[in-house]
Structure formats: C-alpha cells, structure tokens
Symmetry: C2
Subunit: 217 residues, 2 copies
C-alpha cells in the first residue's frame, strides 16, 4: 500500500494538504468567485464532498488559501523593512526577494490584488494573521523607524527627502506591478514566458540602481 493507497486512511494530513494545494492552484487561476469546487476536487484527485469534510464550505477553503498566500508574502517584507540594515541593503533585499518569489509564482500578484479589491473587508484579518499581531502594533513603529533612517541619510546629504510611505510604495510598485500586468505585457510586447523571464532578470540588476539613483540628492 503506502503511497499508492487511495482510500480509507489519510496518514498525516496528506489528503487535506493535497486539497489545499489544489485549491490554491484553482483560486489563483480563477479567483475566489470564479473558482468551482468541482474543479478543485478534480485537481486534487478526490471527491467534491471531501472538500466540505475538511474545510466545511467554499468560503472556508478560500479563506485558508488566502491566509496561506498572505502569510508567505507580507512577513518577509515587513521583516526586511524593519531589519537593522542600511537603506541600500533593504532595497537590494526587497527587490531580490520579490522578483525571485514572484517569478516562481507569477499568478500571485494578480490574485492578491484581485481578492483585496473585491473583498476589502478581509484585509484587516488578513494582515493580522500574516503579521502575527495587530497591524496597529507592528506597522506604525516600523514606518517611524524607516522614516528616522531616511532622515539620517538626508541630513548627511546622501539622500533627498521622501516620506517613508512613499518610499515603500514606490519600491513595491516597481517590484510587483510588472507581474500583475503580465498578461498585458505578453501581448503589448509580444513576450512569451522566456522573454518575460529575461525582462525580470534585467530588472533584478537595474531596479536597485534605478531606485537608489532616484533618491540621490
């Protein structure tokens, strides 16, 4: 038996995990509203009733997926922004982190933006579960610290002034938007997967330089 066993026993949470993986695939492709329980069941190689056994409802399943995704995206960003390293180092790390991460999951930005747009009421719960704490306790101090760090370099004449929120948004925009706009780039620039990969590869080196340059005094 062992791995080929299809019935009766789910040692560990193998089946549950397979369902969750399948759900992630389908929700990312179709969005929460467009996803069908049947398609998820098929993708997982199980019956539709099992989805309800493990996750009770479509909403339960979609929440599980949403949390998982958010938990993979936000913590690393927050930690990097809060880390005790130079601004330049932060730029380098965030660019590398996101471009590599998104290159492996190119559907992720489109999915996240779509979900946040259509279900803004989920954002608070999402952020607190992704950050492991209330946003009010984590984020304001983070941006105060980042602001102070920017100010230091501004006063040293090494940088032009910028609000920490604008700093963060600019950096994240430049990293994430190309993936969200990927379906359009494919057509507008006639990019296939390989061309897109080259495009992103180019950004890995050019983006940090571009961004640092933008902040020169």
């Amino acid at each position: 038996m062992a791995k080929t066993a299809k019935k009766a026993i789910d040692r560990d949470g193998e089946t549950e995990q397979r369902i969750l993986d399948a759900a992630r695939t389908v929700f990312l492709r179709r969005g929460t509203a467009g996803a069908r329980m049947q398609e998820i069941a098929q993708e997982a190689g199980v019956n539709q009733a099992l989805l309800h056994y493990y996750f009770r409802s479509k909403e339960g399943l979609s929440t599980a997926v949403f949390r998982q995704i958010a938990g993979r995206i936000f913590p690393a960003l927050v930690q990097t922004l809060a880390a005790d390293i130079s601004i330049d180092e932060k730029i380098d790390r965030i660019v590398a982190l996101y471009l590599e991460n998104m290159m492996r999951n190119p559907f992720l930005p489109g999915y996240l933006i779509s979900e946040l747009h259509h279900h803004p009421e989920r954002v608070p719960q999402l952020l607190s579960s992704a950050l492991g704490a209330e946003p009010g306790r984590v984020l304001p101090p983070l941006f105060e610290k980042l602001g102070a760090q920017i100010n230091e370099r501004v006063h040293a004449g090494e940088m032009r002034p910028i609000a920490p929120e604008q700093f963060a948004i600019n950096l994240i925009s430049l990293c994430i938007f190309p993936f969200a706009a990927r379906p359009m780039l494919r057509v507008v620039f006639g990019m296939d997967d390989q061309a897109f990969a080259r495009f992103i590869e180019q950004r890995k080196t050019e983006l940090p330089a571009f961004f640092r340059n933008a902040l020169r005094p």
Copy 2:
C-alpha cells in the same frame, strides 16, 4: 412625460445607457465572475429581463463594460508615449493623466488587473479595440520611437540608458499600483479617503521628480 417617463419609450438610448452605467459600477465592484445580473438591474432601476433585451447575455454586458473601460485607459497612454514631445514632458503628462484619472475612478486599476488576470484570452481583442488597430501595427513602432528618443538623450549625456519597455513599465507601475493596492494602504497606513487623496496629491508633484532623478546619468 419627458424625463419622468419610466415606461414604454426609450428615446435616445437612455435606458441602454443607464444599464451600461449600472453594469460598470457593479462589475467594477464585484468583478465579472462575482457580479450578479440582479444587482445590475436593481442599480439601473429596471428589470433583469431588460438587461438581456439590450445585451443578450451577461457575457455581452461584461464585454461592453470591459471595452468601454479599456477604451478610456489605453489610447491616451499610447498617444502620450507616441507624441512629439520631450521625454520629460511625457513623464509629466502621464503622471498627471493617470493620477487624476484614477483618483476619479479608484476602482478601475483593481478591476482591470483582476479581469486581465482571470481572462488573459481577452487581452488581444481588448487592446485592438482600445487602440483602434492591431497591436502589432501600433506598439512596436511606438517603442522604437521612444527608444530612439531615449538614446538621443543618453548620447547627449543627459540620461542613463534604459530599455524603452522598462521605462514605460516603471512609469506606469508607479502611477497605477498605489490604486491597485489601495485597500491594503487603507489598513496598513490607516488611511481614510481623505488621507489617500493627500497621499496621491503628494505623488503628483514628487513622482515626476523622482522618476527624472532616477534617469539622471
């Protein structure tokens, strides 16, 4: 009768237009898959059957909305990028154009990204109807011209080299992404509508400077 007439006669295309407006509102809020014909009918103040009378199906209605939106977004961008003006002028105009445009329709970026993500097969038809021609006939020449324009300034020592595609994507990312991420900003930065408006207002002046600075040699 005149304006208060609710039945029988639809002079001009008043009713059809009202339905289309209602559909835009609902599709933008819920996405194509999440939108309900009933909600659109209610929003338009008509019966659900009337939607089918004018647009035949949900797909027909969603296509009409999608085209309308795309037609309002892309042509101005393409025209500005192709215009016979300096690079700096293009930066200024595109930033102003998008930030003002999106400020008036803040749901638009999230909707567009969501639709393009979940229905990438629609992109080609979308672009050709939005551009009034085949993408292959409009866009490659446009980026060649932009590339030449960049090269001129690079050789004059006024600018560092950048591929025209990266130039365009960077500019558009910085303009659009903040709106797509708006639901998150509301929570992360505790922004209400007014605070968000101020945030965008600040970008109107800072973004062109930021961007030009990034391209200094």
